[in-house]
């Protein structure tokens, strides 16, 4: 019989118990381990940010610059502080001044993080409870509250998926 243990980091270790059939041809300590699973949002975000940093000046039809590299880099660090492995990938849109906005939208919840610069983020959320006006907070480096917002949103996404399955 095999035992599968999944760690919070996404690493999966399969150990073979002392069972004759399972151990056939293998050592007593045989295990298979899988590499840490990268979050799905990571590749989506990296690709999108690379596009936005490489935009040509005037991408908006006027004189908007590309997203500033420090803003993109800070956004990656911010997302690492608020997203879990299961968080859905956000949409990212460029601003007109080298800034950018990171967004999640679901049926009942909208979260928008306006990265105006490193350490300067306007965070906004609307839910069924807050109504369309939503709640807005200015944040610098502590994104604990946004991590909670995202945990709620991720849970809702997961529940929707299960209901549809």
């Amino acid at each position: 019989m095999t035992q599968v243990r999944r760690y919070d980091t996404g690493t999966t270790v399969v150990s073979l118990r002392d069972h004759r059939d399972a151990r056939r041809g293998l050592s007593d300590n045989a295990r298979l381990s899988f590499e840490r699973r990268d979050p799905e949002w990571k590749n989506v975000v990296m690709r999108r940010l690379a596009e936005l940093v490489a935009l040509n000046r005037g991408w908006d039809g006027f004189d908007a610059p590309p997203v500033e590299f420090h803003n993109a880099y800070f956004s990656v660090q911010m997302l690492q502080s608020i997203c879990s492995v299961e968080t859905p990938a956000p949409a990212i849109v460029p601003g007109y001044y080298g800034d950018l906005q990171v967004e999640w939208h679901s049926a009942g919840t909208h979260i928008e993080l306006h990265v105006k610069g490193p350490n300067r983020v306007e965070a906004w959320r609307s839910t069924d409870e807050t109504g369309v006006e939503g709640e807005e907070i200015d944040l610098s480096t502590d994104f604990t509250i946004v991590a909670k917002w995202l945990a709620d949103l991720t849970r809702a996404f997961r529940d929707d998926d299960r209901a549809r399955a």
Binding site: T9, R36, K42, M46, L49, A50, V53, A54, E68, F69, H70, A72, Y73, F74, V76, Q77, M78, Q80, S81, I82, S84, G117, P118, N119, S140, T141, D142, F143, T144, V146, A147
Partner: protein, 271 residues
């Protein structure tokens, strides 16, 4: 007014200190081009007449939220690559590191006999002057004042493992316990949040310890590196200096806490 060392800060007659780094990261001035690096060198050349080129350091931002695993970096090759420049003093003990978004000042022991640690107060006074010189230069190009978004202080210690005052890593560092084994190699890294008096995060302390060899003599040493990094309260030079002073207090205090009484005797603790 000359800076004075805070009272009651742990102090040692012979600390195993090998290198100290003070640094800030700032928003790259929009009109800066790498060709201006020569003019930046001219600001410091009288004291730092030698130059070397290195690969640029990636940006670093400390952010807080959920506990996270290993970080991943974001890299985009878009346009000409920017280098990092080392402006070195003749004897190589002190150097300034400059790139389009960073300024750092290092002191390095290099040769035990010849180098005396100039002390943090002297280093931070010089660094403040260097920052002001850089800011004036950028303003002369029509740029805005430096917008500093991260600050860091690093203390690197080389703990001798051989000789009459040699200590094994588990003898010197209270965090380490090999359970009686004689470790040939190890690598310990962890980070700890630093909170304000109000309980909100303001910085992160990174601890790193490992066994290595001194490059000039080959003798085995235990590296113990402590770094405090975070955003200053405001993005100006004064706030950056205040952050560096806070970071230094934290590092020196934690160094004394994580090292053993026996090590303190070897290093002759005074305070």
């Amino acid at each position: 007014m000359a800076r004075t060392r805070p009272e009651n800060l742990p102090d040692f007659e012979m600390p195993p200190l090998d290198e100290v780094v003070l640094g800030v990261q700032f928003v790259p001035p929009p009109r800066y081009r790498q060709i201006y690096a020569g003019a930046v060198w001219d600001l410091y050349r009288s004291e730092f007449p030698l130059v070397e080129e290195q690969i640029a350091i990636a940006p670093a931002f400390e952010t807080f939220g959920v506990t996270r695993g290993p970080s991943f970096n974001f890299e985009v090759i878009n346009g000409p690559a920017q280098n990092r420049f080392w402006f070195l003093a003749e004897d190589g003990h002190e150097l300034i590191q400059f790139q389009q978004d960073r300024l750092l000042h290092n002191w390095r022991r290099l040769d035990k006999e010849a180098s005396v640690y100039p002390r943090f107060e002297t280093m931070v006074t010089k660094f403040e002057r260097e920052l002001n010189q850089l800011q004036t230069f950028f303003e002369g190009l029509g740029q805005r004042a430096l917008e500093i978004n991260q600050c860091e202080v690093t203390y690197i210690n080389h703990i001798a493992m051989e000789g009459p005052s040699g200590l094994t890593p588990d003898e010197a560092i209270k965090l380490i316990n090999f359970g009686g084994k004689k470790a040939e190699a190890f690598d310990l890294r962890f980070a700890e949040r630093i909170d304000s008096d109000g309980g909100s995060p303001i910085a992160r302390m990174h601890y790193r310890a490992s066994i290595g060899q001194k490059t000039n003599t080959g003798e085995p040493v235990c590296y113990l590196e402590l770094t405090v990094r975070g955003a200053p309260e405001a993005n100006d030079i004064q706030s950056a200096i205040e952050f560096l002073e806070m970071a230094r207090r934290k590092i020196v205090t934690q160094f004394a806490e994580v090292t053993s009484e026996r090590a303190h005797e070897v290093w002759r603790r005074k305070v």
